[in-house]
Amino acid sequence: MAEQSKGDPIEDGAYVVLKRGEVFKAAQVQTRKKVIFGKQWIFLDNAVGHCYGTAFEISGGGKLLPLIKMEETATETMEAGADNRNIVDDGKSQKLTRDDIEALKEKGIKGEAIVQQLIENSTTFRDKTGFAQEKYIKKKKKKYESIITILKPCTRILAMMYYAREPGKICNLRYDTLAQMLTLGNIHAGSKVIVVETCAGLVLGAVMERMGGFGSVIQMYQGGEPGRAATDCFGFPESFLGMLHEFPLGKVQSLLSGKFSSEITPENTQDCLQTDKKLNGSPNEKEDASNEVENSISDRVLECSQSEEQQIIEVSSGELKNNNENENKERKQQAFEKKKRQIEKRKREIEAADLLKERNADGLIIACRFHPTPLLLSLLDLVAPSRPFVVYCQYKEPLLECYTKLREKGGVISLKLSETWLRNYQVLPDRSHPKLTMSGGGGYILTGITVVREDVRPNIKSLELQKTDEPSPKKLKLEEL
């Protein structure tokens, strides 16, 4: 039985997560390619063939040596003092100097051995309480040891990793807040979900994982193309890509007004590109900034359809008289490739538009750096009635406004503005307490449920209903259930 095996082996090219202590780092296994993890160079070559969950020691030169059994290296606490009343902190308790330690490291002495040396050379270690000794060992271990575990990526790990390492890239979306979004958004296999996010594709990836390849996800984006750096880290199978679509935010209005054209015409592909250029903000576009001039030429190239290829080159060469024939040829090839990509993109855009036009999305998830109100007010029109929506914002104030505008517009019920407090605990015999530091905030969430909007203008009756949206629960009595 496959289930009884030790699990899947790590393959070359696989997306993995490296774990050391409580620190994660996403990486791709590529032979002979260096990965930096906490100031250390690592080659992942040796990981190939081992199962996910295997622990490795990083040896000299950054090679991985698989550990047969991961042991909690319990240095026995010896001769512990009853309390720390006799400890005078004069900063001279450690006899090893920093140079001594560096020398040990250069000799290739392993982390654990260094920690042992530190303990032996501490004049106060023996007088510390058992607790203080353990604390000391833990601290030193963390500094000098180098055992990593290679894990299969998933939402839990990547969300925690991004929040710890690069919260700015995910709008400070804390992992438990993401968890709320997925649940409150009723994300599940077989649904059609609209996602707007500027969280490096983390939210998109989390939604895709929850849908397991069943259903469709339409990512709305601004800028050249949707940001999906974190989505890539999930290492989804090829089969998942079939459910993924994208649509530019800049065309939402034309889609809603029915002006969006589903034909692939030169104007369309041009439009497609101009939209890209006009809107800023995509990480990709920023990277392209240095190629600005070249790109603007390519753009013009793509104003024309494939049959007008020759003409394009003439226009280009007219402007680039200094360039030689060879470069022109290369450019021609590039232009051709880019145009092909643009047409492909336009095709996908039309596909996504067809999905959206049905106005029957099962869910809407927004988590981005843009003000949520205009986005939400427009995109709710694409969602079926009786479906949940979830909007994340790092700040509370925009969601207060969003709430107010939604109430005015109607068509939604059960609006709720909330956040979560997350507290981690240390649970150890006789030393249990909440962790001494905690996250100050994980951001805010506004949720609600769409309903059928009968009239555009609220009449007296609908205003009355709106009032009953939040009645005092005590006043309601149900005669029969």
């Binding site: 095996s5 699990g7 998933c154 839990r156 969601l399 979560t420 981690n424 249990s432």
Partner: protein, 299 residues
Amino acid sequence: MKDGDTAIVFLGHDSMFPVKVQHGGQTQTKYGVIRHSTDLIGKRFGSKVTCSKGGWVYVLHPTPELWTMNLPHRTQILYSTDISIITMMLELKPGSVVCESGTGSGSLSHAIIRTIAPTGHLYTVEFHQQRAEKAKEEFCEHKVDHLVTVKNQDVCKNGFGVTNVADAVFLDIPSPWEAIGHAKDALKVKGGRVCSFSPCIEQVQRTCLAMEEHGFTEMNTLEILPRVYDVRTVSLPVADLGKGSDDPSSSGMDRTSKLSQASVCSNPPQDVAQFKSGVPLKEVVGHTGYLTFATKSLF
């Protein structure tokens, strides 16, 4: 909506209830009767339905979250906030195989089934016979019975009844430490995740010890609390410091409105500062339980 569907009748934010749609069925609300055949069957979920007394309600598609808010409480239930973090931390997704005990009121069960469908399976064990049977009925009614197996036994004594099949195990029982061994057995050979929910810290302490004894790693205990805000427009009066009307700007404040107050004393119009605020409720959830997560490692 069609005959046999479960729908949620929504009267207001804290006032809704589930209803089984049936030809000829009737449901009483404070706004009057809803007649299923004419008012519900054939209508879209999310529609406004006018009751016999002229009042309106909305009829909603059930989700595990609406279900959790409205299910018949047979036990203390898990709330959506906890369910959310449990689902993520147990790494649940379509295809996951999950073991759960106890089933309780089934609020977590429904959320798990939603997430692991269409290819996963839930084995849920409940020691209280009446509850186990009621849960089974509900799974049938909600047409998810093919995704779940309900067992009426004591998980601490008899385990989950399956071995090396689960990706994740969830425990919400009074003595979780007695079931950690069974949890380990239920998990796949290659490993998986476990979570224990306990209201008291002493339960957590014992559970953590048991997890360590059984070789679980990555142990992590946390607590998650929902904070809901009322969105309100607040007006604060501005005190009269005797500055008169000669220099209104000297108060150094952005006055947003002047409200003339009707009063027998014919008071001068009083300055009022208005703003929107997200105000916490006076009394909120202070504790549900501690969640302890751990990994069964490959090694």
